[in-house]
Amino acid sequence: MGSSGTSAALPGPVPLTRRYPWLGELARFGGGMVFLAPSLILFAAFVFYPLAKSFYLGFFVSDPFGHGQEYVGFDQYREVLTSEDFRKSLLVTVLFVLYTVPAGLVLGLVFALMANQRLRGFLFYRTVFSSTIAASVAVAAVMWLMLLNPSAGFVNWVLGQFDLPRVNWLTDPQFRASWDSGPALMAVSLTTIWLNIGFTTLILLAALQNIPLEMYESARVDGAGPFAMLRFVTLPMISPAILFVIVVSTIIALQSFGQIHILTRGGPLDATNVIVYSIYTDAFINFEYGAAAVRAVALFLIVLAFTLVQLRFLERRVFYR
């Protein structure tokens, strides 16, 4: 009776997508690209293009305005990457990572474990420990600049209370051993750990709070003490968060700039001249854009290598639910 019967009787046109199935595929791909376009464009403009340009710039000796002047092929790559100052800044960078990442992780874990105890006022406590997330690098660096001031700073005052010698934290040029590039790198590392501790604590705390309470109760009935619970329940359960923190804080350390710029400007005697800072010096102080580009490419490959190695070796020990 309804009018709907009449339209079914007419021979409708065969849809194009049925005659040419690949058209449908293409349409789907096109549709996907439309949705991806905003982020692709942004990535292209601010990541892919600069990355390609840096590679390219490394083949040129540039003029002070950053234009490639003379094509030198791989000569510049070879020259910069084998230079003494690059080796030194590579060492400083590695030391900086070693000073900041493990200590930051352990401290963050301790804070997170403490904040996870349902003690009186834990909410306040948790806020305090995650507050460094809100502090900008500049603010934190200036604050530490004051704390580390050799004559009026709090740190030296504390040392003085214990009759320990005062330290010229940011200016003492001594370089004692390859594993110890003096107090300046320590000071910068301290600032960096402080800066990241809020992030680390928060990530680990969130992971801790996801562990079901029954798991601890079951472990208690099974006879596990506090240490065994930490070792067999807590740490395995938050291992994905730990891996995440290691990878991310390594990347953050490898890219640190602000605190170094404000505290030491890479000094004294290049003791804190990490690769990022040497890129800055080369490009914007010495106007050697080509050399800076080479260092930037090197840093990119180092970050990539670090991350891949960490993911590959640590992921095996991580349990994902």
Partner: protein
């Protein structure tokens, strides 16, 4: 000999009363079920035995020793949690072995015990898997295995079947009973499911709002519920209950209600004298209502007229809801009766099947 005793145990969480003056003797090798609606305190009672909670007042004894301040691990109890609480990062083997490792057993000894437990539970093929790779039923077995392997003095089970589907639940129920027989150990089992309680327990302890309502074998709890709560909670469909007023006529005691007037037998009459103000609740189970007159049966009976409201066929039987005045009655009848809604039928109840409770206190009178 009682293995676990609650001696006037109370537990408060702030202002909330979880358990109040709870006393219970759990006998050695007994399978006792703590039954009650959610929030009745049954899980709290179990957790107090485990040592996961401390009683606010009173004592908890295991093997006649007060264990209020004894750490869970020194109580020699094993617990199966509702959501199993398996360690997701450990293999089945390591999950089962965990408690033994924590007790410092030798590796070879652990291996023997774990493999034996796995064999008994049909987990031998799954020992290398992680809990995430198991079905719900298999996970449940791992949780049981983790408890069994420890050979504790008492097993504590907190609704261990509630995450299983209906079919598996029935199957596991039977296996747990078999396991109890095999292990010859005390089980304290918490559930809100009366079918589990009735089918598994040697005795059932019914709790409500932190108070112990009744303890007894399943049949006794069903046949002689101690109060209105137990009467209404145990049995499905629930017992029909209606308020009635006691009245003496011609030397006999009658319970007059909207549904009908019932002449109580001597025994009931004797018990009913305790009723405050002569106000009682009269209860009758759905299976104790019959269609038809009560003539010639010999037993004392009462017949009332009632109208069919709703018929629910279950195949072997039918649950029929009747209305009479403002009251409703549910009867469990033969499915072949083919009753139709709005039909008027005579319903008979044998007086000996009536339960009489005090209306004010809810206590059983007869």
């Amino acid at each position: 000999m009682s293995l676990v005793s609650f001696d006037n145990v109370s537990k408060f969480f702030g202002d909330v009363v979880a358990l109040k003056d709870f006393s219970l003797e759990v006998l050695d090798r007994e399978f006792i079920v703590l039954l009650g609606p959610s929030g009745c305190g049954k899980s709290t009672a179990l957790r107090i035995v485990a040592g996961l909670e401390q009683p606010t007042r009173g004592n908890i004894l295991i093997k006649d020793q007060v264990v209020n301040d004894v750490e869970p691990k020194r109580r020699d109890v094993a617990m199966v949690f509702q959501n199993y609480a398996l360690y997701p990062h450990m293999s089945v083997y390591n999950n089962i072995a965990f408690g033994l490792r924590m007790r410092g057993l030798h590796r070879r000894e652990i291996d023997t015990l774990v493999k034996e437990a796995a064999q008994n539970l049909g987990l031998a093929e799954l020992l290398r898997r992680k809990p995430g790779e198991l079905s719900g039923g298999q996970r449940q077995r791992v949780a049981l295995g983790r408890a069994i392997v420890r050979r504790p003095v008492v097993y504590l089970m907190d609704e261990p079947l509630s995450n299983l589907d209906a079919k598996l639940r029935v199957q596991t129920r039977a296996e747990l009973v078999k396991m109890h027989r095999l292990l010859q150990t005390t089980f304290i089992y918490v559930t809100h499911d009366q079918v589990e309680a009735m089918t598994m327990g040697d005795r059932i302890a019914i709790l409500e709002q932190g108070l112990l309502q009744q303890v007894g074998p399943p049949q006794e709890v069903y046949d002689r519920p101690a109060n209105v709560f137990v009467a209404g909670f145990i049995g499905s469909p629930a017992m029909n209950m209606f308020p009635a007023h006691l009245q003496t006529r011609d030397g006999d005691l009658f319970a007059d209600s909207e549904v009908g007037s019932f002449r109580l037998d001597t025994q009931q009459a004797q018990g009913a004298t305790d009723a405050s103000d002569g106000e009682v609740m009269v209860g009758v189970r759905p299976e104790h209502l019959y269609v038809g007159g009560g003539e010639g049966s010999g037993a004392v009976s009462a017949t009332i007229g009632a109208m069919v409201d709703l018929v629910e066929y279950l195949g072997n039987e039918a649950h029929v809801t009747f209305s009479r005045s403002d009251s409703t009655l549910v009867a469990r009848l033969d499915a072949r009766l083919k009753l139709k809604p709005a039909e008027m039928v005579p319903l008979t109840v044998l007086v000996e099947n009536l339960h009489v409770f005090d209306q004010a206190s809810g206590r059983r009178l007869a």
